[in-house]
Symmetry: C2
């Protein structure tokens, strides 16, 4: 065997025929496997079951500042929850607003507020002829869905090994005042697993923006989601808040995080951090929408996770479950694909995804073949704005949900399908 591109057409046809038989055999087994969404596995959720015992009917339900957490009130969170989320957001508790259970909702609401009310004294964005947004690609499909729903035009920006292409970002924000912001998953990015370099963070803070109210939506979803326990094996990220303050643009960023992949997804606590001025603005704008988020759940989480060290200890439990899965992805993909040389993929040190790039023009076909064989992948194109990957190359692999043995099988199917799609493309091009 050799690289597929170096095979003769006849050899390619023979290899494709062999793979088709393999694929037919997978189909015959009636598999139902899923590598589509970044969901924690059942044994990860078990780690957080003690959360449910933290507050009982005989518990003290009073927060540190004397608030009865059972009743209405406290729009921006109880003190211990602010402190907890500040640890996750790498910020000061007084710059934190604790929200509901979902950071996606937090981000949607933040963007909707900019549209409806404006930010930093600027006009409501909905009154402008156009609002554009920079979207590093490959990126997170739900980010793109927020922009699309709210009518914000998305501009893809390629991701490199240390963050988005900053030459392009700097040019776009300087020349077009309709460019109002950028999505960033700055640590263990979705899906590439990239952590922004210090230089990228500094350039984001220092760049000249035509729009005074330009906003970095800093979705630090995987801030504490390391795969390895040793600090030397963990990515570290320069704080965007400090960096923006130093650059003289303290209002430029909004940080988001949640405990969704720390405790129980959907039943966790989300929060944002921003400058004191922007926090004041948000509290005022939020007042029409909410009296106060779930303080009982805030208290439950604060008492369960406690502080940065408590979070880190808890996350080591997640890492122990996830490490073998991510290792398996690397081992299986290398074994199946190295020789054929029709794909590359990321090898992240944290987060929830592996970003896979097949040969151009093969991603949709690969996903379709996998589905035929009973393996659900994230839809091809999902990692691009409007679901349109111009290369049709990128596929997001989400290895966390299936048990190891199912993941093993799903990766066999996936690799087979990627190779089939590559050979079909090569043969069609001849």
């Amino acid at each position: 065997m050799a690289r597929y591109v170096d095979l003769t057409a006849e050899e390619q046809r023979a290899e494709l025929a062999r793979l088709r038989e393999e694929h037919a055999a997978f189909k015959a087994r009636g598999l139902a496997l899923n590598m589509a969404r970044g969901k924690p596995a059942s044994d990860q959720l078990d780690l957080s079951l003690p959360l449910l015992d933290v507050l009982r009917s005989d518990s003290d339900l009073t927060s540190e500042d004397g608030t009865d957490c059972r009743n209405y009130g406290v729009i921006d969170g109880i003190p211990e929850a602010k402190r907890l989320m500040a640890a996750m957001l790498d910020d000061d508790p007084e710059n934190v607003i604790v929200l509901g259970s979902s950071s996606l909702t937090a981000m949607y609401d933040a963007m909707a507020r900019c549209l409806d009310f404006g930010t930093g004294g600027g006009a409501p964005w909905c009154t402008l002829p156009a609002v554009r947004w920079l979207c590093p690609v490959p990126g997170y499909d739900r980010h793109f869905a927020v922009c699309e729903a709210l009518g914000i035009e998305m501009i893809p920006v390629p991701m490199g090994a240390d963050g988005p292409d900053m030459d392009l970002v700097e040019r776009l924000v300087a020349e077009d005042e309709a460019v109002k912001g950028i999505w960033c998953v700055p640590k263990y990015s979705n899906p590439g697993g990239v952590t922004y370099s210090d230089e990228v963070v500094r350039r984001l803070a220092a760049m000249e923006c035509a729009a005074d109210d330009f906003r970095i939506f800093w979705d630090n979803a995987y801030a504490v989601h390391h795969l390895f326990d040793d600090a030397a094996d963990q990515d570290r990220l320069l704080d965007i808040a400090d960096t923006c303050v130093e650059a003289g643009v303290p209002d430029r960023y909004l940080k988001f995080a949640s405990t969704s992949k720390v405790t129980l997804p959907g039943a966790g606590v989300a929060a944002l951090a921003a400058s004191p001025e922007i926090c004041d603005e948000i509290r005022a704008q939020m007042g029409a929408q909410v009296i106060g988020y779930d303080k009982i759940n805030q208290l439950r989480h604060a008492r369960f996770l406690r502080d940065a060290e408590g979070i880190a200890a808890h996350m080591r439990g997640h890492a122990a479950i996830l490490r073998p899965k991510f290792a398996l992805v690397q081992a299986k993909l290398h074994a199946a694909l190295d020789e054929a040389a029709v794909a590359t993929w990321s090898d992240p040190r944290g987060g929830y995804f592996v970003s896979f790039d097949g040969m151009p023009g093969t991603a949709a076909r690969t996903v379709a073949l996998a589905r035929e064989a009973g393996v659900t992948m994230t839809g091809a194109g999902a990692t691009w704005p409007y679901g349109r990957d111009p290369e049709d190359a990128n596929i997001r692999i989400a290895p966390t949900l299936p048990p190891l043995e199912e993941l093993d099988e799903a990766l066999d199917v996936f690799a087979c399908c990627a190779k089939m799609a590559a050979l079909e493309a090569l043969l069609a091009a001849e």
Copy 2:
């Protein structure tokens, strides 16, 4: 003594001097009492403490349909939560969307979706030159704040003994296509305690609206909040859904409710009910904002409250605590004010408020005098759009939060202040 209007100016001055001494004595005591917000009292919250024991680390956290409630997903609620909230919303579970912990947020979000995306195939309201909303007055200040924040122009409509002035409502909706909806708290209304008559409900469903996408925001916040246990002493409300279906406008209404004043405010479960078409529309529009709301809390509530009978039994506990407070309000106000004849007030059979109408031009002064003496009331004007009560007469009394002995004291202060303000007004008019 006699009615204040029948007193001579000299008698009025003497009475005012006496009341000023009384007021000074209250001030000297350094009171800190609160009748401002519709918050449950601590002993009401105690009724729901067992809620915290329903789910523990060893509980089955699987919903009826097999969903692991710990993980992501299920945008519109688990089946048992839909059934529970259907009982509260007087609707079918399949027409229910279970949301986060706040019906205020549910209503804000619903209105924002109409603005951003439109409803029923109509244009997004934010693209229209004007959007107007009918606001029965006196009404709920947070409803008005939602409209004001979202730039919707409010038109006050007087409330009568059986609901809003329907002649006026019918005229306004027929002649102005910019009138897109109406706020309704149809049962034990905030603050008047009014329950809409069957005729009012039927007219709301049957009226001709210039706007095809006219929406009734049916905030049934006090659906199960009776003060009396005997069905004969409870208000009943015609179902808006059935009535709209019969009238051939099945998409006209959105019902809202929550468990906020049933279990723990802010840590409860909110929901809406609408026609199948509108539910589909909302689920599709919500998809960009949320993956799924807190299913653990949904499960906790469904297992705690169980069904309509479980809710009713639980609410009888609330009623036992609230009944003496509402009775005290009536007794104290009658004792203090009947003779002076300077005010009228509601005597509701449920809900959270008593609506007080002083002499025109005295509400703001009464609230200010009460504050001086250490009693916080809802701000005068709060029950009107933009905080502007043209008569300056209405004050919302919220008797639920203070313990009985504090409420007793607060009512003494309040009655004293209302009488002072009345006398000041009478003397100024001479």
